[in-house]
């Protein structure tokens, strides 16, 4: 309480209750809001990490599980082993041609069935991917067929009474197979089905020693080596006899010229490729011959190579999924992957050579068995010391390793269809490992370093997440997307930043206040244009238009600045009273340079196309015609202009100023114009000289920064996205420039500097922090921009600097692929990782921008 003194009014010194409540409420609201924002940003990144991080969880392999009962009853050295997708059943085929079906949990044999009771089987081939089998017999005949698991759900009535009380997950045996009570309470009957076609001749009566088969679009193709040393390839054509209704088999094949290859001894391995177009014949010493069997009637030797140049001997040769990559195991424990690549200057008829693309970390002892998954490039390899390793062919990475329970080597090995188990048989019986292969295809190496993908000629960064084929190799290289993001950003900044900054400088430093008050909101309004509209215009209107008038567009890029400069010099020529009279209209004159430059471009473009690009720019870009000079000339023209400007600034201008100091403004303006024209001519000459020089050195810009023209390309995106980022850069830059204290400008102008000198020497350097932030914020916008690139960039994930080629950005990739990615799949998580990468990129950019901005701000604080 106080007594009234000055105003006669007693003042309450305590704040009122409402004031205090409002104060408290607002403090709470602000605190909650602020912390909430931080937390939600944090949560977003935590969520991205949460989804993406399992990609890098290691593959786990359990200790070996050894079913005790009956395990010993199984054949100790079978030819082939398969496991069903539910991991309940297994089958194997013995050397005698007997099929054994057994339970995986106990190892108990359910069935033992001689496949060929009346014939002696001498060779067999199995294909895990399509369940196909081929058997060769002592009489030289061959039988093709399928051995596959089948599943059928039983009606309650069909289930034997003693099995009806099975609990969920319980197993029971009945005639024909294994009954499994599913968690849903259904009864699932599983068994193994064998379909064998009647014997067909191999072309020789001698016993079959080696056999392999594949099924192509035209039908099965098999290769058979018989004991008489003959190797034949046969394509089987099944034809329905229209009269009898029976299917008739027709064989088309030929003998492979083995002897011509001068091979000593009969080959140990015969392998036919998935498309049936290549037959590989290999010996244990590592020698391998490849025959072209596209026409099976006339196999041709393509090449002879050595799989093991050292003393090592091949112990195992098997196909990776897709039958294109050969996995080679040797007696030293070494393991490698080989496939055909195209090489310059090789003498093979098809220009390809078998190349060692993957070298896996070697095991300690000889490779005894190799099994490839039927789903991915996962490979299991067994070694003589009992070691079992899980490998990924794509990156040649070892994912996990274990050892058989008693250290005995596995004779056969199978990867369960869902890749959740590896099963093998050693001399002491069955060994099974539970496998948790989370996302083997995604590793840091696979994502960010070049990888040698199957069928490619070299290591490369490739993004290709899906395809129509089952045996497709996932290509998860993120670099093309990162590159696309950077390319989009770079080209749009290249276009947008100069325009935005120059416009901001002009507005802040030279524009009349009243015009400025109109222009600034108008440009800011541009920022409100939805990017989907811009993208739509870019993709559907602008891209086709640019494609049609490309020479004019490129010419306009050069002519607009030129028109501005010419306009400035002509302005000087006007008598002083006139310039004063029209000084308020200067902005209009400057704006007029744009249409004039475009017009000049439209007129000059086609002429330049004729003169520089042999009359057809796009054909020139394709590299079909014309010399490199024209392209170099256009590319080097800005450089020529810069060199000329720098040279003139350093040498000619001081002299010019001194020489013309005494003259009246008019003659100086004329001389100035002459000087400018000389400069332009000089710039053209420099560009032309450099262009001729570079062409003379044999260099060609095509294939690097320019190249084949694609309708949706970086030029279009750069232009439209530049347009999208101009408003934001402009606004922030203009604010930064306007914020420079007036007293600095006054000091500079007071010292006799022109407004332009003041802008360049004082205002811009002082506002550098703000200008930098403006560019960085534009950059951030360009990095994250989605709709424009989605609609105008063509979305081809290429690493190619070509201005006229498309690209795919991280953001567009996420937008395109996430809707169709299977939840929690490798693909899905990789897309989240792409989002995280994008986040990291913008985070780094923003942090750098912030640091630089703070540094600048500390400086301007001292003003």
């Amino acid at each position: 309480m106080s007594t009234p003194r000055f105003t006669g009014r007693a003042r309450q010194y305590r704040s009122g209750a409402t004031v205090r409540i409002l104060d408290r409420v607002s403090r709470w609201a602000i605190t909650v809001g602020g912390i909430g924002t931080l937390v939600s940003i944090l949560l977003v990144s935590v969520f991205l990490i949460w989804v993406a991080v399992p990609l890098f969880f290691p593959t786990r392999m359990s200790a070996p599980h050894r079913p005790a009962e009956g395990a010993a009853a199984l054949d100790a050295a079978p030819l082939h082993l398969e496991v069903d997708e539910h991991r309940r059943l297994g089958w194997l085929v013995t050397r005698e041609g007997t099929l054994e079906v057994f339970r995986l949990d106990s190892g108990r044999r359910l069935e033992r069935r001689p496949l060929f009771p009346e014939a002696e089987m001498t060779a067999a081939a199995f294909s895990r991917q399509d369940d196909r089998v081929a058997f060769g017999f002592v009489d030289g005949t061959v039988r093709l067929g399928r051995i596959a698991f089948w599943v059928r759900f039983l009606r309650e009535a069909e289930v034997p009474p003693e099995l009806r009380s099975l609990s969920a997950g319980g197993l029971g045996e009945m005639a024909g197979g294994l009954v499994v009570r599913t968690p849903e309470g259904m009864f699932r009957l599983q068994g193994v089905d064998v379909e064998l076609e009647p014997p067909i001749p191999s072309g020789s009566a001698a016993p079959v020693l080696r056999i392999d088969q594949t099924v192509t679009a035209a039908g099965p193709v098999y290769a058979v080596l018989t004991a008489d040393g003959k190797l034949r390839v046969n394509a089987v054509e099944e034809r329905e006899n229209l009269l009898t209704g029976e299917t008739e088999i027709e064989l088309a094949g030929g003998e492979v010229p083995l002897a011509a290859a001068g091979a000593g001894g009969l080959p140990d391995f015969v392998r036919i490729s998935g498309l049936g177009d290549a037959l590989y014949v290999a010996w244990r010493d590592g020698r391998i011959q490849r025959f072209l069997t596209r026409d099976p009637r006339r196999p041709v030797l393509a090449e002879t190579r050595d799989l093991e140049p050292g003393p090592a001997r091949v112990t195992s040769l098997s196909w990776l999924l897709g039958r294109f990559t050969l996995l080679v195991g040797n007696d030293q424990g070494g393991l490698s992957g080989w496939f055909l690549t195209r090489r310059e200057g090789v003498s093979t008829p098809d220009g390809r050579v078998l190349t060692r693309a993957h070298t896996f970390a070697p095991g300690a002892a000889a490779v005894t068995a190799i099994a490839s998954s039927a789903r991915t490039r996962l490979v299991a390899a067994a070694h003589a010391d009992g070691e079992v390793r899980l490998l990924l062919a794509t990156t040649a990475a070892e994912l996990a390793a274990s050892r058989t329970a008693d250290g005995r080597p596995l004779a056969v090995l199978a990867v369960a269809p869902r890749e959740d188990a590896v099963v093998g048989i050693s001399a002491s019986g069955l060994n099974a490992w539970e496998v948790n292969a989370r996302h083997p295809e995604a590793s840091l190496a696979a994502l960010f370093t070049p990888v040698w993908y199957e069928g490619h000629d070299r290591r490369a960064h490739i993004w290709q997440s899906s395809s129509g084929a089952d045996d497709f190799e996932m290509k998860l290289g993120l670099m093309p997307l990162v590159f696309g993001t950077l390319k989009a950003t770079l080209y749009s900044l290249l276009f947008g930043v100069p325009i935005a900054l120059l416009a901001a400088i002009y507005t802040a430093e030279f524009m009349h206040r009243r015009v400025r008050m109109l222009v600034k909101p108008a440009v800011e309004l541009m920022a409100g244009l939805p990017s989907v509209v811009l993208g739509f215009l870019a993709g559907l209107v602008f891209a086709p238009f640019v494609e049609q008038v490309l020479p004019a567009v490129l010419a306009a890029f050069l002519m607009v600045p030129l028109a501005l400069l010419v306009g400035a010099y002509l302005w000087q020529l006007l008598p002083a009273p006139l310039t004063l009279r029209f000084s308020g209209w200067r902005f209009v004159f400057i704006a007029a340079a744009l249409p004039l430059g475009i017009l000049a471009g439209a007129i000059l473009g086609p002429a330049a196309e004729r003169a520089l690009f042999a009359g057809d720019l796009r054909a020139w870009l394709d590299g079909q015609r014309g010399s490199a000079t024209g392209g170099w000339f256009v590319i080097l023209l800005p450089l020529g202009a810069l060199l000329t400007a720098a040279g003139m600034g350093a040498r000619i201008n001081p002299w010019f100023r001194a020489a013309t100091a005494a003259l009246a403004p008019r003659p100086v303006a004329v001389l100035d114009l002459v000087r400018f024209i000389v400069g332009v001519v000089l710039a053209v000459m420099i560009a032309l000289g450099l262009a001729l020089g570079l062409t003379g050195l044999g260099m060609d810009p095509r294939g690097s920064v320019v190249g084949t023209y694609v309708q949706r390309n970086a030029l279009v995106v750069g232009f439209v996205m530049g347009f999208a980022i101009i408003p934001i850069i402009y606004t922030i830059a203009e604010d930064a420039l306007s914020a420079i204290p007036e007293h600095l400008r006054s000091a500079s102008l007071g010292a006799g500097a022109t407004p332009w000198q003041t802008a360049v020497r004082i205002v811009i350097p002082t506002a550098m922090g703000g200008l930098f932030s403006a560019v960085m914020i534009g950059l951030g916008r360009a990095v994250g921009e989605t709709m424009i690139v989605l609609m105008a960039a063509g979305n081809t994930p290429l690493i190619d600097w070509n201005l006229f080629n498309g690209f795919r950005t991280l953001s567009a990739n996420i937008a395109v692929e996430l809707p169709e990615a299977v939840r929690n799949s490798t693909h899905y998580r990789t897309l989240f990782l792409a989002a995280l990468t994008l986040f990291a990129m913008t985070f780094v950019l923003n942090t750098v921008a912030e640091i630089v901005r703070l540094k600048f701000r500390r400086r301007s604080h001292e003003l």
Binding site: H512, R513, R514, A576, P577, L580, S583, G584, N653, P654, R657, P741, H743, L744, R745, S746, A747, S748, L749, G750, A751, G752, A753, T754, Q757, R761, I762, P765, T766, R859, S860, E862, L863
Partner: protein
């Protein structure tokens, strides 16, 4: 751009009346300040001694408007060559405006309109054909608040040479040293020429700004309350400096500080509400002004 550069005939709000200067000084009495406040025109009391000086800058019937508000009324002021002339008067009376009009910094404001003219060495300042840039190069300006550029001390000093395109290192070095010496700042600055000028103290910054102004070899040095942001010690240094510049440079200085005006200047002009009230030798203005109003002001009875 600015209406200030338009021909004079455009739109004078008040007709520019011409006075013969200098005139004999009648010992006038009466309430001039009240008359000025009422908006009446009151003739300037210009002392006879000024007739003997060679004027380098002549202000001749100068009027200036900010929008519709007139800030300068019919100013007649001849600044003698090689002397220090102080402009005194209460805040808002138009001292800064007058100073900024001399080197046409007011051109930059697009609300400013002027009538009348000023002449530098007999050549018009406001004629449309005048090259403003060239004009400003003949005048150095020091502002109220020290405003060094955010660059090194060295670059600050040689700024006016830089914008003239001088690149010769020897010339630059020499000008830098001489200007800093003239601004009594060389001893403090010579070891830190490459350091940022923003790290200097206020007094140092102001002496740097003076060195920068001197480096341009101006005909007239315009100073707008150069000491008002400084402490007494720095102020003393600047005042000594102004004393030292006397004779070589013509200085037109605005000050709030009566003692400073009396200590440093040769002539003093007293302004009130946009009008020049009395103008004469400093000694006369401070000891025996012709007008009672001037006396009241300088003795601190108002303002």
């Amino acid at each position: 751009m600015t209406t200030a550069s338009e021909p004079m005939a455009d739109a004078p709000r008040e007709p520019a009346r011409r006075h013969a200067t200098p005139r004999p000084a009648p010992a006038l009495r009466g309430d001039r300040l009240a008359a000025i406040a009422r908006g009446e025109a009151v003739p300037t009391e210009t002392h006879r001694e000024l007739a003997g000086e060679r004027a380098i800058l002549e202000v001749d019937g100068f009027n200036l408007w900010y929008g519709t508000k007139q800030a300068l009324h019919d100013i007649h002021l001849d600044v003698p060559f090689g002397k220090v002339t102080a402009l005194v008067g209460p805040s808002g009376c138009g001292k800064s405006t007058l100073l900024r009009s001399v080197n046409r910094l007011n051109d930059l404001l697009d609300t400013v309109r002027i009538t009348g003219d000023m002449r530098l060495d007999g050549a018009s300042i406001y004629h449309p054909s005048v090259d403003v840039i060239q004009l400003r190069k003949r005048m150095g300006m020091v502002f109220q608040k020290p405003n060094p550029f955010p660059m090194s001390i060295y670059e600050n000093v040689v700024y006016s040479l830089r914008i003239d395109g001088v690149r010769d290192r020897r010339v630059l070095d020499e000008v830098c040293e001489r200007s800093l010496q003239a601004a009594a700042f060389w001893d403090e600055a010579k070891d830190r020429l490459k350091e940022s000028a923003l790290g200097l103290s206020g007094g140092q910054q102001q002496r740097l700004c003076i060195a920068r102004a001197i480096a341009a070899e101006p005909d007239v040095l315009l100073m707008d309350e150069p000491c008002s942001a400084l402490d007494p010690i720095a102020t003393g240094k600047i005042e000594d400096l102004i004393d030292a510049l006397k004779g070589e440079y013509t200085v037109l200085i605005v000050t709030h500080n009566m003692q400073q005006a009396s200590r440093t200047s040769d002539y003093t002009a007293f302004m009130y509400l946009g009008r020049l009230v009395e103008y004469g030798p400093t000694e006369a203005i401070f000891t025996r002004p012709h007008l009672a109003e001037t006396n009241d002001y300088i003795t601190g009875r108002f303002g």
